[in-house]
């Protein structure tokens, strides 16, 4: 019962803080706004290429940036230490923040549903694909946050990692060699699903997504077990 109280308290705090956090607000609106602008200024063929890329970046990059920066900031400002000393366990904190970031990322991604006309089936597929992408990215964000000592040190790591995973699928569409590399990451299949407007990807693609998730989960568990949340 107290665990639920703690998770709900952290979640509530995170929702309130998000409305006052400029980084979160800017990133939250960045890709949907860019998509809306591009919809007005580029041709349909160009938009068909760019929209899935924006959607992929939005789905994949937001959770990494939000999760890592929120936790790193709490470590630096010692607010996390105070929570832990008030009997909030690390996993309760992670879940409270994680649920909030998950909903924020999903909400931001769902803005795209208003931009592209979709059938109900396509919309459901879109949400399922987004959910898979967001969960994998949340794990990456949490891993980076555990490794980072403070907010200053998380930026130089988060930026290249989120850009690599978020932008690689788009560049892979222009270069065959890059496509081979991109196929190793879940973000490639997220983009493929957005391009095809469906979940109809082959079994080997699902296997790669599953493997990505398993590796990330394993890394997270190992790091969490040995480091906790770091400077708590």
């Amino acid at each position: 019962m107290s665990a639920l109280h703690h998770i709900a308290a952290v979640f509530h705090k995170q929702v309130k803080d998000s409305f006052k956090n400029r980084l979160i607000l800017v990133v939250f609106f960045m890709f949907p706004v860019l998509a809306m602008v591009f919809k007005e200024i580029v041709s349909k063929e160009e938009l068909d290429f760019m929209l899935p890329s924006f959607m992929t970046m939005n789905t994949v990059m937001i959770p990494i940036i939000f999760m890592s920066s929120i936790i790193a900031e709490e470590k630096e400002k010692k607010t996390l230490r105070m929570l832990i000393m008030s009997n909030v366990r690390s996993w309760e904190y992670l879940l409270g923040v994680g649920i909030c970031v998950f909903l924020q990322a999903l909400l931001s991604t769902c803005v795209f549903l208003a931009i592209i006309p979709n059938s109900m089936d396509e919309a459901i597929d879109f949400i399922v694909v987004s959910t898979i992408g967001i969960i994998c990215s949340l794990l990456i964000g949490a891993i980076l946050a555990i490794i980072a000592k403070n907010q200053m040190s998380v930026g130089p790591v988060t930026a290249p990692v989120s850009m690599l995973i978020g932008l690689l699928p788009m560049f892979s569409a222009m270069n065959d060699k890059l496509e081979h590399a991109a196929k190793a990451f879940y973000s490639y299949y997220v983009r493929e699903s957005f391009v095809s407007h469906s979940l109809e990807i082959d079994e080997s693609s699902w296997a790669v997504i599953g493997l990505n998730f398993a590796v990330l989960l394993f890394l997270f568990i190992i790091l969490y077990k040995y480091k906790g949340l770091g400077n708590e």
Partner: protein, 239 residues
């Protein structure tokens, strides 16, 4: 000491026990009986004073939390700032908010780490008067401070730490008595003359120097305070 208590530090010699339980056996009831004001206040800068307290009121599942929070903000004289972001508060206000958070759930023990360090005298007085009131109501304070005058004024029992070891402990009066040198009394007259004697001979001296044309300006005793005791024991000044 506080890190040991809260399980933040694991390497130590000896035993740590609060309310009869070792840190590894603390449950949520034990944690709920702690309040803390640490060196770094751990307040959320972007959130308002109210929201900062609201987070902990939710963590501790406090009933009627809205009323309780407003009562406390009133008590620490921050009710007008309740909707203000913490980043807009002065250091003294932050410290008062931090103190309000520590006592929000009516803890039995409050750990304070340098609670008045760098604060103006008015804020220090406010915090001290709150501490006194809570002490009277039965709250135990565990105060860590370099300010020996504050320790002497606020504490019922003191332990002096030097290089990680307790070098002296007891009530402030008992500690000072133990380290009292041969007690001397000096008397300064308004004509500039100064007399010194053992405390036992004070009455004789007063009789001797009694002159109708001169008044006593000051009487000093060389009773030690905690600071002089600390310097005597450790051989070094307080930092």
């Amino acid at each position: 000491m506080e890190e040991l208590r809260t399980r933040a530090a694991n390497e130590h010699i000896g035993m740590v026990s609060v309310m009869g339980k070792e840190p590894s056996k603390y449950d949520s009831d034990v944690y709920a009986s702690f309040g803390m004001v640490l060196d770094n206040d751990g307040l959320y800068d972007r959130l308002s004073c109210y929201d900062n307290l609201d987070l902990y009121a939710r963590i501790y599942s406090i009933r009627n939390r809205q009323n309780k929070i407003y009562e406390l903000l009133e008590e620490v004289e921050l009710s007008e700032e309740s909707k203000k972001s913490v980043s807009a508060l002065s250091k003294g206000m932050r410290q008062r908010l931090s103190f309000a958070r520590a006592i929000l759930h009516s803890p039995k023990i409050v750990f304070l780490d340098e609670p008045t360090s760098g604060l103006d005298p008015a804020t220090t007085l406010k915090i001290h008067s709150l501490m006194r009131r809570l002490k009277e109501e039965g709250t135990t304070f565990f105060l860590t401070t370099h300010n020996m005058a504050e320790a002497q004024q606020m504490c019922g029992h003191i332990a002096l730490l030097h290089e990680g070891r307790i070098v002296e402990d007891g009530t402030p009066e008992a500690i000072c008595l133990r380290h009292r040198p041969e007690c001397k009394v000096s008397i300064e007259m308004d004509d500039g003359n100064c007399y010194e004697t053992d405390a036992g001979n004070l009455a004789d001296l007063l009789q001797k120097i009694k002159k109708p044309q001169n008044d006593i300006l000051r009487i000093h005793s060389n009773e030690p305070n905690l600071e002089s005791v600390f310097i005597k024991i450790t051989g070094r000044r307080l930092e």
